[in-house]
Symmetry: C2
Subunit: 205 residues, 2 copies
């Protein structure tokens, strides 16, 4: 019964609702975990090392990059963030499924080394709706929104290499679809093969 | 939004609970239909031509076999039963997903011509439990049960070429898993690609 955990990689343009979806799905599925990233950014109030992030120095991050320890990493606002292969393998080795919420560039990098990952792209129902959602937040200036929309168009050009698409129009439906993708992946024959062989022993044809 | 319907093919050894599972899932999913088979057997009381079966003569069945009209057919208790490609294509063309409940031999035949089908094998949690269920029915003689158990072992030797395995231990969980497999299949990128291109037009990369 102790199969290796599965790896789910989710990307989406800003405003598609990925963060809320991921949070909802992690709350529902007890065997699904977020992987903990490494970052050179300083901890914020309330953040715990090893829970929210692995906080490391620039030199430590450099060393990990040199060792090829990251399956993907990126610079965001001058700080570096990375997903260590060891972090994923530790969780998966313990039988936990892992949910990784990263941008398209990171997902494409990761696919090179984790080809057994299941890649899911969340998209808004339309560009109009995406614009409406981004403007509705009322936190960003018009030029920032314009930039986000340009980025969204560019990220959406990547979606066709993902395994699954989830159109986040009705939130409950999108959550059910994401849950179905995760549940179905665990029923794939190659995932269950060992368990079934344990249950039934040698099966004669 | 009018994508071609998907084709789900389900097999299981006798006693695994396939019929109850299929009935439950058809009741839940309005877009999922049973395909209507052709048979040379005479209609029973209450059976309607075109709803329960397409009732045909031996000569008509022969002609359809000669025309290669069946994706699979078999003889059961002296009567012939077959699934016509045209029956599947008609439903799928109308956007309905089709659930086909056939034995391993039929499924293997069908795979030759419907390679885009999603193949699901339902299995009992153990041979002991299968034996218990078959004996619990109290409808079959001991030698019939022995034969069914031998057939089950033989059919289970086929399961590893199926795409998905559903272990029917807890019925509700098995139903959820079957539902998840069907729902996830509709989220596959190749299935949604056309719909997404309609929604977003040309997406620049």
């Amino acid at each position: 019964m102790s199969r290796k955990g599965l790896l789910f990689v989710i990307s989406a343009p800003s405003g598609a609702g990925k963060t809320t979806l991921c949070k909802a799905i992690i709350d529902i599925l007890p065997n699904l975990r977020h992987s903990v990233s490494h970052t050179t950014r300083a901890p914020r109030a309330g953040e715990l090392d090893g829970r929210d992030y692995h906080f490391v120095s620039d030199a430590e991050f450099d060393a990990m990059v040199a060792e090829n320890a990251f399956v993907e990493w990126a610079v965001v606002h001058g700080n570096r963030y990375g997903t260590a292969l060891a972090s994923l393998e530790e969780l998966r080795g313990a039988g936990c499924d892992v949910l990784l919420d990263i941008d398209c560039q990171g997902a494409a990098q990761l696919r090179e080394r984790c080809s057994d990952g299941i890649f899911i792209f969340v998209l808004p129902p339309s560009f109009q709706e995406l614009e409406r959602r981004l403007k509705g937040r009322q936190t960003d200036a018009a030029d920032v929104i314009e930039q986000r929309l340009r980025n969204a168009r560019s990220e959406m050009g990547q979606m066709f290499w993902y395994d699954y698409l989830v159109i986040n129009d009705d939130f409950d439906l999108a959550r059910q679809q994401l849950q179905a993708i995760i549940m179905a992946a665990a029923c794939r024959t190659e995932v269950l093969k060992e368990q079934v062989q344990d249950l039934f022993g040698e099966i004669s044809n």
